[in-house]
C-alpha cells in the first residue's frame, strides 16, 4: 500500500497530503459503511470525520500500517457500533425502525410503491436486518470481502462468520418472500 511505505522523508506537511489521499480513497466508502450501521447520513459523516481525525493524530503509527484498509474499516465499524450503543435509548424512543418492524405487514401505499423497485426492496431488507447479520452480509456482498477477511476484521471465528452469513441470507429471503406474498394478496 502506497501510504505504508517506510519513507523517512515524510515531513510535517506531507501529513496533509496523506490525509487528502486517504480521504479521497476511503471517504465515500467509509461513510457508506458507517451508514449501513447507523442508517443516518449525519451520524455516518460524524463517524468518518472522527476516524480521519484519529488517523491524522496517529499518523506516525498509522502510516506504517501495512494492512491499512482492514485497520481503517475496523475503526470505522467500531466507532459506528459504539455510537449505536450510546444512542440506543435515543433511537429506541425516537427512531421508528422498531415501529417499522412491527408494522412491517402494514406498509403504507407509498412504501409499497417504493418497494416495488426490486433493488430498493433488497437494500431496505438488508438494512432492516439485525446488526450482526447485516454487517456480515454487507461486508461479504457489498464490500466483497472474503470470509477470512471478515473474520479478522470483526475478530470472529470464520465459522461464526459463515453461520451468520447463512442466517442472514435466510432472513433476507424470508423477508423478501413475505413482502412478495403480501404484495400479491393485496393486488
Amino acid at each position: 500500500m502506497a501510504y505504508s511505505t517506510e519513507d523517512d522523508n515524510f515531513v510535517e506537511n506531507n501529513i496533509d497530503d496523506w490525509l487528502d489521499l486517504i480521504m479521497q480513497e476511503y471517504g465515500e466508502r467509509l461513510t457508506k459503511l458507517a451508514f449501513n450501521y447507523l442508517k443516518d447520513w449525519g451520524l455516518a459523516q460524524d463517524v468518518v470525520q472522527d476516524v480521519f481525525i484519529t488517523c491524522y493524530n496517529q499518523y506516525h503509527k498509522v502510516s506504517k500500517i501495512v494492512y491499512f484498509k482492514p485497520w481503517i474499516f475496523r475503526i470505522t465499524i467500531n466507532r459506528s457500533k459504539d455510537l449505536l450503543k450510546s444512542t440506543f435509548i435515543k433511537r429506541y424512543i425516537f427512531n421508528n425502525n422498531l415501529l417499522k418492524q412491527f408494522s412491517h405487514k402494514e406498509l403504507s401505499p407509498e412504501m409499497k410503491l417504493m418497494l416495488n423497485n426490486e433493488k430498493e426492496k433488497l437494500s431496505q431488507t438488508v438494512l432492516s436486518l439485525p446488526i450482526k447479520y447485516r454487517e456480515v452480509i454487507i461486508l461479504f456482498y457489498y464490500e466483497e470481502m472474503s470470509i477470512a477477511e471478515i473474520a479478522e476484521l470483526l475478530a470472529l471465528n470464520e465459522n461464526t462468520v459463515k453461520t451468520r452469513l447463512n442466517r442472514g441470507r435466510k432472513l433476507v429471503k424470508n423477508s423478501l418472500e413475505r413482502s412478495e406474498l403480501y404484495g400479491r394478496t393485496v393486488e
Binding site: D16, L19, D20, M23, G27, E28, L30, T31, K32, F35, N36, W41, A44, Q45, D46, V47, V48, Q49, D50, F52, I53, Y56, N57, R79, D82, L83, S86, N117, E118, K119, E120, L122, S123, Q124, V126, L127, I137, I138, Y141, Y142, E144, R169, V172, K173, L176, E180
Partner: protein, 330 residues
C-alpha cells in the same frame, strides 16, 4: 424473482443505486476534517459525549441521594418544629372547644372534665353583651371542688380579663357530672374567648367559646334592597331557581355608574341554616356599565348554591356592605 444468491451478488449495485445513492463524503466534509485536524483543542463529540452523560447522571444521582437523605433530616426537624409550635399554641390555643355529649345534652368544653350545655345553634351562641343561661357541669374528685366557682374570661386579641362568674356554690351530680350549676353569662365583644374555671384559687379547666357578631341579617325573603326610601338593588333570579345547579341571576342596580366606577364589586351568598358562605361573584373591578345601559342596570351572574333554603346575597363594594337580598332556593 431472481435467485437469492444472484440478488445478493448484485447487492453493491442495488444499494449504490438506491439507499446509498449519491455522494455522501463531500468537499465540505473534507474541508471540515482538514480544519478539525488543525485544531487539536477541539475535542470531538464522541469523546466527551459518554463522559458528559456519565458525569451528568452521576451528579443527578448524587443530588437525588443527597436530597433524599438531607430532605429526610430537614423535614424531620421541620416537623418537629411545627410540633413544637403547635405545642406552644396548644398552651393558649384559641380554637373553640369541642362539643361532647353527656346525660342526653350536648355540651362544650373538655369531656369528663368540664363544660356547659351548648350546641352551637343560633339561640345558644354568644353574641356581644347578650346574657343567656348556661348550665355548667364538672367532673372530678370531691377535694377538687373546695371553694367557690369563679370563671375568668380572656379575649383572644387583648389580655383584658373579666370575671364572668364569681362566688358560685355549685350543686351536686347532674347529667352524668359530679357537680353542676346554672349560670347567666355574657361576653362583651365578638371573637374567641377563653373561660378559665377556678374552684377557690385552683384552675379546674378551660373552655374556649366564640362570640358571634350580632346577627344583623333579616332573613325575611326580599328581592329588593331599600335604603332611605330608595331602592338600590333588586334581583330577578331564574324562575326555576334550585340548589345544586348553576342558575342565572339578574341584578338591577339603580345608582348611577359613578357609584361603582373603578370599584371592586363582589357578591357573597350566605346560607341561613349552615351559615356557610360562598362567593357568587368574585371581586371584580367595575369599568363599564352593563352593555347598552347607563349604569349596572343589567348585571348578570351565573352561579350555583349548594343547598336549598334561604340564601342572603350580599353585594360588597370595595370590601364594604352595599346591599343585600334574600331569596328562597328550592
Amino acid at each position: 424473482m431472481n435467485s437469492m444468491e444472484e440478488q445478493l451478488n448484485n447487492l453493491r449495485k442495488a444499494m449504490d443505486d438506491t439507499v446509498l445513492k449519491g455522494t455522501h463524503f463531500t468537499k465540505e466534509q473534507k474541508a471540515k476534517i482538514r480544519k478539525a485536524v488543525k485544531n487539536p483543542n477541539r475535542r470531538n463529540r464522541f469523546e466527551w459525549f459518554p463522559k458528559l452523560l456519565t458525569t451528568v447522571f452521576s451528579l443527578v444521582f448524587l443530588i437525588i441521594v443527597a436530597d433524599l437523605s438531607i430532605g429526610e433530616k430537614w423535614s424531620g426537624s421541620i416537623v418537629n418544629e411545627v410540633k413544637d409550635k403547635n405545642a406552644e399554641k396548644q398552651t393558649q390555643s384559641w380554637k373553640e372547644s369541642s362539643l361532647f355529649k353527656s346525660g342526653g345534652y350536648t355540651m362544650i368544653g373538655e369531656k369528663q372534665r368540664l363544660g356547659f350545655i351548648y350546641d352551637n345553634n343560633e339561640v345558644l351562641r354568644f353574641y356581644p353583651n347578650k346574657t343567656q343561661k348556661y348550665m355548667w357541669h364538672f367532673w372530678g374528685e370531691d377535694q377538687e371542688f373546695k371553694g367557690k366557682l369563679k370563671v375568668v374570661a380572656t379575649h383572644e386579641n387583648d389580655n383584658e380579663q373579666i370575671n364572668v362568674l364569681e362566688g358560685i356554690e355549685v350543686g351536686g351530680p347532674n347529667n352524668g357530672a359530679d357537680r353542676h350549676t346554672p349560670s347567666l353569662m355574657s361576653l362583651p365583644k365578638s371573637g374567641m374567648w377563653k373561660l378559665d374555671a377556678y374552684f377557690g384559687n385552683e384552675l379546674f379547666g378551660t373552655v374556649f367559646v366564640r362570640v358571634y357578631d350580632e346577627p344583623k341579617e333579616d332573613w325575611k325573603s326580599h328581592d329588593e334592597y331599600v335604603k332611605d326610601g330608595v331602592t338600590l338593588l333588586s334581583v330577578a333570579p331564574d324562575p326555576f331557581l334550585e340548589a345544586g345547579k348553576p342558575f342565572g341571576y339578574l341584578f338591577h342596580f339603580t345608582a348611577s355608574f359613578e357609584t361603582f366606577k373603578g370599584k371592586e364589586l363582589a357578591i357573597y351568598a350566605y346560607h341561613k341554616e349552615t351559615s356557610e358562605r360562598i362567593t357568587a361573584v368574585s371581586p371584580t373591578i367595575m369599568n363599564e356599565p352593563s352593555a347598552g345601559y347607563a349604569t349596572l342596570e343589567r348585571f348578570t351572574a351565573t352561579f350555583e348554591v349548594p343547598y336549598s333554603g334561604l340564601w342572603r346575597y350580599e353585594v360588597v363594594l370595595d370590601g364594604e356592605f352595599y346591599a343585600d337580598v334574600v331569596l328562597f332556593v328550592k
